[in-house]
Symmetry: C2
Amino acid sequence: MATDDESVLARIMQQVLREAADFSFDLTPPHMGQRIHRIVRRESGHPDPYREQKIRCNRLAAELYPRLKEEVSSADRPMDFALRLAIAGNVIDFGPPGGNPSVSLRHVAEAARRETLAVDDSARFWSAVKTAGRILYLGDNAGEVFFDRLLLEYLPAEKVTFVVRGGPIINDITLNDLDGVGLEKIVTVIDNGSDAPGTVLEDCSPEFRRHFETADLILSKGQGNYETLSGIKDRHIFYLLKAKCPVLARDLGVPEGSMVVRGSGPL
Amino acid sequence: MATDDESVLARIMQQVLREAADFSFDLTPPHMGQRIHRIVRRESGHPDPYREQKIRCNRLAAELYPRLKEEVSSADRPMDFALRLAIAGNVIDFGPPGGNPSVSLRHVAEAARRETLAVDDSARFWSAVKTAGRILYLGDNAGEVFFDRLLLEYLPAEKVTFVVRGGPIINDITLNDLDGVGLEKIVTVIDNGSDAPGTVLEDCSPEFRRHFETADLILSKGQGNYETLSGIKDRHIFYLLKAKCPVLARDLGVPEGSMVVRGSGPL
């Protein structure tokens, strides 16, 4: 997507392999993704290779939105259905191999209707949401953000700060990709100051870190945020994600492809 | 297969990535395979990681052999069926991703019965075999060698020199893996002096190169030999192979998985 120039592709491959050789096994996949995609952007001269894909995903999700909102409000348990939709929407991800958002987008609602949660801390999730003063919602991907918006309708929006990435990285959502999403109308939106496809705290802005340290509750969407935050034990975090790769599924103790709501921290 | 020690695996990965970063795009996959597997053997201390697999493949193929030989001799066109079997046997390969010899071995005969050749220079093949004085047969993998033996029954064995790899490399056949194959009883067998999974001429022994330069006809089995020899235009070579990866299939202009007999050189 960034370039068709074979000599540039060759140079990117060589630099990525060289970086990968020096990659410490202590770091997370988003650390590596950040380095790889910085090389891609620098060598191709393309500042945002996934821009078209993000626009397309947002447009497809925007088209589904009114019908889904209707379906949620008339569901048996609207809040839980909205929660499952937000998690199912996490399938819109160009990171893991084989991701194909345009096909899977149509199946998001179907998955939310059909599948149960392999890890289900949703009762604790709703009770934590109810009592929290300040809620930080860590977003993940373009397109998926519309499913986050559906869930935000059932959260105390005035207490929620929604966080996007600080710069283009894969199909992750940034401030630049929020046109037409209407998120700013219902919640405060900030970026985290980092172009990692996750939340690498030491790479984030002081402003974001202040939010992170002072929030009563952190809602973390997706694999990248889980991979970078799961080691943190002193913050109250709920992870909402689909386990999209075997390593992560094993770490969570669930089958690959499972939908998960897992609470963590001093509860 | 070479080791379970995670620190050794990590070291191998890092060294392989470092080599891969410096890999010239002018070299062939067998050049790279040679370097990768030298690292694996050196760092793991295992001189022949695929040894057990090669023994198993040979044993499975040996069990099929008598029945297949019978089937060939009673076939409509025994020579062409033997040729197709030798090509179908090329599926026994641990090199390309997804290779699973023990499953596919049972399907070799079925493939030879059912499939036609996507590139079919077999008429020229048989006429070249008839007139050639010295024939060099470049073998490929363990297990597969039994299917080569079936074809050798229909070649002028006294004119054939069969070539194996000079040292352990993936599941390629070496002198050490010929126990029970009985090849030496019907043809002359030599090794090429090289541990590349193909025929990298500059890496082969002077003795092999002399054979290569003076043979009237070269029969080349498999992808690795094709990848390393297909640039050579002044020798009379027939390539017998299955196109097991998309790059090779595109190069040959055939669908992936196709069986191919292609003649090349000053005919």
